[in-house]
Amino acid sequence: MNLPFFYACFGILIFLIGLIGLTLQPHILKKLISLNIMGSGIFLVFVALAKRAGLSADPIPHAMVLTGLVVSVSATALGIILAIRVKQLYGKAELPEDGR
């Protein structure tokens, strides 16, 4: 198995770790971090698979990853600000259970 696929496998592994974190962790900030980890995993897969073109990697996935990063940052920022507000309103930084 050559190098790009090696990295891609790690990317999938990181994605799975983030997924487990997202579902198991009740604390909102930890969920947000898990989402970011999932994103990092996906981006690693993108970039790794782009390297299959040889020495000069395919630049299109790189651009996609950059776009994805900005989107990820925006969403995380919004999530954090929402989390702070939830903590203010409900006392603890967890999503209320009763589906409010």
Partner: protein, 227 residues
């Protein structure tokens, strides 16, 4: 605590099993991807001379697939607007690091960071760099200022601040729209002006992105100005 333990033991195990199956599926799919693939790199290289910049990634981001970048800038702005709706800016006293060492350092750090940001912006034309990276670095300078000397920035919700926040997206949208007036399609830069237009878009976006990220760090809408 007991409930969490039970939760972890039964559902936790089911979840880990499901995730392992899911992961297995993903690895299996990876196995069947061809080992060598050029993707679109040949096509990108072919059109590089027409793109107006020398960096391939910048050409893709701002020219070939610039429409995506335009929407992405809007996404960042949407996050800021969301922050504005949810809460006012709050910089805790506990976050402020107004000690003498930092106060001394930022006199030198902040100008250097701004310079580096400008350099990264310029670098984007022919190497890795560009608006987003430069904007992030600029935001770093802003964050430093917010933490060490919050009163120095005096952020108030004013037309001037709003103008800086939207100037990037607005110029981008304008340059996307102008070619339509002359009979072309969206974001079809005229050949002679490509380089300068991209530079203008990137410069304006750096400002907007920097301030947007800084305000997102600050946590919400600035206090109302006098107007």
């Amino acid at each position: 605590m007991d409930k969490t333990n039970q939760f972890h033991s039964f559902w936790g195990i089911t979840l880990i099993v499901l995730v392992c199956l899911f992961g297995g599926m993903l690895f299996w799919s990876l196995w069947h991807i061809p080992e060598y693939s050029e993707g679109l790199s040949a096509m990108v290289t072919k059109h590089m001379p027409d793109s107006g910049v020398k960096s391939e990634v910048t050409a893709i981001l701002l020219n070939f697939r610039g429409y995506d970048t335009l929407l992405e800038v809007a996404v960042l702005f949407a996050a800021l607007l969301g922050a504005y709706q949810i809460s006012p800016m709050h910089l805790d006293k506990s976050m402020v690091q107004s000690n003498p060492i930092m106060l001394y350092l930022i006199q030198y750090l902040v100008p250097i960071i701004i310079l580096v940001s400008g350099y990264i912006l310029w670098l984007g034309g022919h190497a890795a760099g560009g608006a987003f990276q430069a904007g992030a670095v600029l935001a770093g300078a802003g964050v430093l200022l917010l933490i060490v000397r919050p009163d120095s920035l005096n952020l108030k919700h004013s037309v001037y601040l709003n103008f800086i926040l939207i100037i990037g997206p607005l110029i981008f949208t304008l340059f996307a729209f102008l070619p339509i007036l002359t009979g072309g399609t969206i974001l079809e830069y005229p050949r002679q002006l490509v380089g300068i237009m991209i530079l203008l878009i990137e410069a304006a976006s750096t400002l907007s992105i920097g301030f947007t990220l800084m305000l997102l760090f600050a946590g919400g809408r600035p206090p109302s100005g006098d107007n």
